[in-house]
Symmetry: C2
Subunit: 267 residues, 2 copies
């Protein structure tokens, strides 16, 4: 177990370091300080796998003992249960929260790694949806994610939690201009496919074998026409029943796994 | 526009009919009375498409005017904004809530329609997940859904909302014993596939062309071993990146669309 700078004296909820960390629940503070909180063992494990990401880990004595292997070699700041709960977004906190540096990459870097499968989210507003798309992108073997336009903050605690560690597994960029993300992908030779219920190509008729960037829109209103028009094709998932559409994260899962299948085992 | 029994005198939040309807926010009351509330135009439209489902629609004057076509011929009870909000689970209520009779079918009926694609959810606890799975089942053209075991109430307002109308589009059964649902599907000639991250068959190697029942487990702990063992095969979605798993509704989407594709355009 690592030696804690506060060994034996857990910090309380009123402690100034705890208070400062708690301010990171606000997006403006996260953005200004380029810091965020990663809550729970999966997120802390993910954060620790990224070199230079973790500043310190706040943990209760119980969690420090329970996760001794995970925390080995990491600076741990002991806090009491109430202080930990004040840093956690979870209903039942697991007892450890990492204070992390931002880890997003520039758009240019994300496209320069010459991905075969890239995900661009435009104006995705719900933190759970954004996190689930990142988790699904990771599972499907995507190379990177771009959160574009007015998308939710990647470092929102609900987003981080919904990624279940995947936020730390693949590079992602934050790009205010979705059109710039589309053009950057095209300039690197990726075919940009807009997921669009009114699209002209059926997903299962589309040629998905080449390098592809999927463009997903807002959960309520989809993609603006002018952005969808920039894509090389607009692709619709077939609706066989009476549902009007799929929700964003399930639609992304179907598209990304269709790509993964076509790229990895063409048949 | 239909003539309302309360034309001109909107009921208030303290009215006894409004109070009685509000009690349906409790599962025990829903179960006892075999009634539930369907909130918003999509859900009301779905409910009205099922003969005998809607008892009455509570609507504000604004909504009655806005949705006059939808409500034509339906008994409308006018309520004021506060009364409507007290019946709605939504942050921004759309102004209309239908009081509906339960519409679940017996398990025997659901399997007797000889489905080609059936969805069995065992112990799915999150209302949003259950609703999203029902919506996705509808979109993928599944014939029916079984909510089995200790699954969330299909009539939970959050479940109803997450289905976006699909609760009313395809038959569903509520069956306390998941094993009974599996056996009933097998007796009707369906191959039961358990979605299981540790499954012995890769999804994209599985033969999905025949009549299939997908068995999905709890969002946190998956399927109990003894239930998964009853399935004909245990099928894993390949994980290409570093994610440990997919979440329930995205996993269901990938599986159901793989089935829809294999059944509808074998190639």
């Amino acid at each position: 177990m690592s030696t804690s700078p506060t060994d034996g004296i857990p910090l309380t909820v009123g402690n100034s370091r705890v208070k400062e960390a708690r301010k990171l629940s606000r997006r403006s503070v996260r953005t200004e300080r380029r810091l965020f909180l990663a809550d729970g063992p999966k997120a802390v494990e993910g954060a620790l796998s990224v070199e230079g990401c973790v500043v310190e880990v706040f943990a209760t004595q119980g969690a420090q003992a329970q996760y001794a292997d995970l925390l080995d070699g990491t600076p741990v700041t002991l806090v009491d249960d109430r202080a930990l709960a004040s840093l956690s977004d979870s209903v039942s906190p697991a007892g450890l929260v990492a204070l992390c540096r931002h880890i997003d990459s520039p758009l240019a870097h994300v496209v320069t790694v010459a991905p075969r499968l890239l995900v661009i989210c435009a104006d995705v507003r719900d933190p759970g949806n954004a996190g689930t798309v990142i988790r699904t992108a990771d599972a499907a073997g995507a190379d990177a994610v771009v959160l574009a336009g007015q998308s939710v903050d990647a470092y929102n605690p609900k987003t981080v939690r919904a990624t279940v560690g995947s936020l730390f597994h693949l590079p992602f960029a934050v790009e205010p201009d979705p059109a710039a993300a589309v053009r950057a992908a095209q300039q690197r030779g990726l075919t940009v496919l807009a997921a669009d219920g009114a699209g002209e190509v059926d997903l299962f008729d589309a040629d998905l074998s080449g390098p592809t960037a999927w463009l997903f829109g807002n959960e309520a209103w989809g993609l603006p026409d002018e952005l969808a028009a920039l894509a090389d094709q607009r692709v619709a998932i077939p609706i066989h029943g009476r549902a009007e559409s799929l929700n964003l994260s399930t639609a992304a899962a179907v598209c990304l796994y269709a790509s993964a299948r076509a790229q990895r085992s063409p048949r």
